[in-house]
Symmetry: C2
Subunit: 683 residues, 2 copies
């Protein structure tokens, strides 16, 4: 079908380019086409986001099933724009029809903070007299204001300011030298910035003042390493080459690799979006996931002293994992043969901008895929695995998040996230007590406790959209030790609990039962095991949300209260903390809690559902995390269970295979029943 599509050259949207796949992100020209239409009707605005309004699922499933005889879903732009007085407009522009089909003024919300919104703040704080005054108090003279930096954050929610005015809080730092790591020199006060008027409207000043850190800089740039004795010289190169190129094919944004097929999308907010993931099971293209993404995250910090409670960034909903994505054009972060994809966004002025090499697609060797040796004769099959990684890296001010969607030959999809970058730091005086809310990672540098909680949105399509979720707990069998049914006490089994409503499906992780969750199609039974075909979520890094019930973070980050939520599919339910996250009060909690409150008793059994999984880590910093953190990995698996008839990777060519009969031949004949006929097992 894709080839057919490619033949349909149209001038409708982009002149002579092939028509985009309905899942494709908006191109630069599509973005600018939307802007032109809006400008015509609504005049001058600041653009916050223009992204693909994804085709309605019902329409899309029909089209995917038969693209040649079905009306093609229209290309629609989902627009957020800001007018004078922080007026927020949400709109939809049908690019096929070339018209605005929705345009609404949305009250009481603040859309995310763009990179351009962020960039301006530092320039304003440097010249603000009140900031200059505060800098003077802690030891920075007026003439050094060019050495003052800030990481502008969304304000979270500050009840003193509400959400009528678009605000940022400026976390302040100092660089003795322009190349110094500023996080060693945090400043103790926090200006509040009004994005509309571009001025500082308030400064939060602590009761105890902390003069700027007098410790030497703590850097990791080449000059600093040279000054400490230089780089180590004992690493010999490891070369990873693919002389014949990659093993995947690229057709537009559809990647085919080792029976997998996946459409790779990208948006300003979630970053990578994977659509219509299927597996070619001996000629039968079977649906597995309709859509996979990281939909939201929150990073609550654990210091209760004001104003640190405001540090709980929703990096996707408040800044955008796509907007913050690194261009991998400047030296790649992967080895081997790489395929890149760019990403296009709108800028404030309404032009399109492109991040070159935003997405990296490459293969890696994956070690032993399977191996078995017969202990009788050392006959053996050993086969090496391969994996496909679709990744991007985004920088959220101090932190880096490296996101890897990994496909395995055995049918497993893995999500791995590596955390690196620099700890968010606050100043402390010599001898000051952290009260356990943080760690002094370097003299004068207090790195506060925090959690990184990610929400993965899984739209399963396990042999079709009618799916059911089961909670699976490893449990001991009934019957006490000595009883007839369990004499030796060794009985255990997988206890499955079917979720029938969204309210019932609100669930936590249980390490003691090795809890997993199965997304199953109960209409299709594995003929061998007589169990429904399914994919199982195996995730072990699932901390509880530590901010307390009823508190600020708990209210705003409803998705993070539990490990798993399941909802009936709704086209517009993409963002589990709501569409516009900055300055949301959490009253009521937007996103998941709201949806479940409204539709919590609707059946989620044998219907089109979405599973939301919150996972992550709790980080108590230590000096070895500083001045730049060694990457800390976390991972989860989506594994086929009762989905295939057998290990689907048996036909991967082995590294080595020797059957018993071959082994016997090598040794001069296999005789079979004679006790003396076997090869010596050990050489």
């Amino acid at each position: 079908m894709v080839l057919d599509r490619l033949k349909q050259v149209t001038q409708h949207v982009t002149g002579t380019a092939p028509r985009p796949h309905p899942f494709d992100p908006l191109s630069g020209s599509e973005i600018e086409s939307a802007v032109a239409l809006i400008r015509q009707e609504h005049g001058s605005l600041h653009y916050n986001a223009i992204t693909l309004w994804e085709p309605r699922k019902a329409e899309m499933l029909t089209w995917l099933a038969d693209p040649n005889h079905t009306v093609r879903p229209h290309r629609v732009a989902d627009v957020v724009a800001i007018g004078r007085g922080s007026k927020v407009y949400d709109g939809l522009v049908d690019l096929d029809e070339q018209k605005i089909v929705r345009w609404e003024f949305t009250e009481g919300v603040q859309p995310l903070i763009t990179m351009e919104d962020l960039q301006i703040v530092e320039h304003v704080v440097r010249v603000d007299p009140k900031v200059i005054e505060q800098c003077g108090i802690i030891g920075i003279p007026k003439e050094d204001m060019h050495k003052v930096y800030c990481d502008p954050w969304t304000i979270g929610f500050d009840e003193r300011f509400g959400n009528k005015v678009r605000l940022q809080q400026a976390l302040m730092y100092y660089r003795p030298h322009v190349d110094d790591n500023q996080y060693t020199f945090p400043l103790d006060f926090t200006p509040i910035f009004n994005s509309d008027t571009q001025e500082i409207i308030h400064i939060d000043v602590p009761s105890i003042r902390r003069p700027v850190n007098q410790a030497p800089a703590n850097n990791y740039h080449p000059a600093a390493i040279e000054a400490e004795g230089g780089y180590r010289k004992d690493l010999k190169p490891i070369n990873i080459t693919q002389p014949e190129g990659v093993s995947f094919t690229v057709d537009g944004r559809i990647i085919r690799w080792q029976n997998w097929k996946v459409h790779v999308g990208f948006n300003y907010r979630e970053g990578i979006v994977l659509n219509n993931i299927t597996y070619n099971d001996k000629g039968n293209e079977r649906g597995i996931f309709y859509r996979l993404s990281l939909a939201e995250m929150v990073v609550p910090y654990g210091n209760p002293e004001h104003p640190h409670q405001r540090k709980h960034a929703f990096d996707l909903g408040e800044y955008g994992g796509g907007y913050m994505t690194n261009s991998l054009a400047l030296g790649c972060d992967c080895k081997g043969a790489i395929h890149y994809m760019d990403a296009s966004f709108v800028n404030r002025a309404g032009s399109s901008e492109t991040i070159k090499n935003a997405i990296c697609i490459h293969e890696e060797d994956a070690g032993i895929l399977f191996k078995h040796t017969d202990f009788r004769d050392d006959s053996v099959v050993v086969t090496r695995g391969r994996k496909l990684l679709i990744s991007h890296v985004f920088t959220a001010a101090n932190y880096e998040y490296c996101v890897y969607w990994i496909f395995h030959q055995d049918g497993t999809v893995q999500l791995e996230i590596k955390l690196t970058g620099i700890l968010n730091t606050y100043s402390m005086n010599p001898g000051e007590d952290t009260h356990g809310w943080g760690t002094e990672v370097y003299p004068g540098v207090n790195a506060h406790n925090h959690q990184h909680l990610f929400c993965m949105r899984v739209d399963p399509n396990i042999d079709g959209p009618l799916n059911t979720v089961f909670q699976v707990d490893a449990k001991t069998g009934p019957g006490e030790v000595g009883s007839a049914e369990n004499k030796y006490g060794n009985a255990f089994y997988a206890h499955k609990t079917k979720y029938t409503t969204a309210k019932e499906a609100v669930s936590d992780y249980d390490g003691s039962t090795s809890r997993t969750w199965e997304m199953a199609n109960t209409n299709k039974i594995n003929p061998y095991s007589h169990k429904p075909v399914s994919y199982k979520l195996v995730s072990r890094e699932v901390p509880a949300l530590l901010p307390k019930e009823g508190g600020l973070v708990w209210k705003r980050a409803g998705f993070a209260r539990h490990a798993v939520h399941v909802t009936k599919y709704e086209d517009d339910q993409i963002h589990p903390a709501g569409r516009h996250v900055p300055q949301s009060s959490g009253e009521p909690s937007a996103g998941l809690p709201e949806w479940i409150e409204k539709h919590g008793d609707t059946s989620i059994e044998n219907t089109d559902i979405v599973l939301w999984h919150t996972f992550g880590i709790t980080h108590f910093p230590s000096p070895e995390d500083y001045p730049v953190m060694p990457a800390e990995p976390m991972t989860l698996l989506l594994r086929p269970r009762n989905f295939f008839l057998k290990n689907p990777a048996l036909d991967v060519p082995p590294s080595y295979a020797l059957t018993p009969s071959q082994k016997a031949t090598l040794l001069g004949g296999f005789k079979g029943t004679d006790g003396t006929d076997k090869a010596s097992v050990r050489v």
Copy 2:
């Protein structure tokens, strides 16, 4: 010191070879030297094991501190031999003194089952009339007895037979063709084999008979794959080469790599043993672990029907992870430049045998080690990581365990285990109910639920042997939402509980608090964080032992009842389920429960301690695990916390580094305070 040692050529043990390091495994000639002495005094015996009796720690620490002025620990062989009538002898032979220093007849125990013990059983069952009769009943004619196979297992403990006689149970299979995967054709009865008399003494026959499976074979050898359409042809090669060789040095069995130093030992039982692991911290060689190993494991199966309760293999204590180790001479399982080490054992007759290439030591690329981009100007440092893997693969009848001890540049030690091989299977009739105790993974093939529980023994030496263990739980801070101390409810911290006695230290995993355990040296405080230097155990695959309290497995596998035990160091406490595991009744429970019962109130604070960690997975099989399992990985980390002053890998050469000042120069000068001077962030 090692170089000095190498200069001391001695003829004492091995003629002209350099003297072995006191941690080195016994060489073939040392083994044979011990046998010669024993033979002289005690005549003809069957040898079960001869391994290094590791130097007493006090003596060894003295020697390690100053090898040139200290008496060198003697080479001592630890011997298990079996005389007529299953009489077990435990002995010690001092090879320096050339004399037997201990020789004891040990009553009521059975030492492990060697590969030779296993090999004989199949030959005996094939000609046993009672077995032939049972085969006939389920459809295998007498003339096909050469197609009958068995995996001999230890009997675990069967109260009908006790432990006076050395027994094995024969799990029976059939191969229509010699190259067929026998696990598709399990037989329903279980002969009991007397190792002493080499005869079948009993057969456990189920009340419901199950004729041999009539389903077609389910194979994964090349001919089977060819018959189904052949191997996939779309995998392009990934070449991993190290043209300049490896980055580590090898001095005897001491490996030096990226500031790490480790002695690589190996024994018949634990497999790889890592000793005296130190890190060169800017010229200061700091102790981290005195000894690391996988000390025991148990694989309980969850089917309560007799005699399946006997399936709970202690693969290390009952068979030996070293004895079962694959020779990697036949095609290697790793890529790149490999350094191998062989392993020498005694055989039944008292000769030494060698597994060539038993241990694989190699490096791998480890992806991003750290990265940070400044969002202001895209100045960036990105550094690629490297890891060192010390690994072996062992085959325990049907299963394969791939064990990787991994050293990272950031000071982390990782243990990764991959499970592959073939499920243990039992027969089932068409339409038979598994009762949830197993899964029909293929017609007629019932793969029972099971757990793989490993016990890692950690002998910490965190800046010296005086260490203390703390349990660390992530907890919410005090004060309700709205209170002065926790107004927004966001306070959280690391709650540390010091273990003062072994009884207090018996602890379980708690996923809800992301529980970790810190091995700390409270005598040495990190000058930045003011916290004790430590290594933290981060382990997330920690299922509860599912066999019930008081039952057979619970009694025999005391170590598996809890995630963590801590004991005061004792030289002879190496094996957490006891020295001789087969046919132990668990009354009383040997190993850890016994030690803790005896010395549970002794202080384990600020003293020489050992931490025992049980982790693993619970496996509910599914068809995609068959006929050979895609490798299932599990992992844990030992991470430095407050051990270093900063990230110890900063001096790893970066892939790319560009400072703000360099970036500004590239763009025509950095001006600093002017809002228009910055590089366009997006290309």
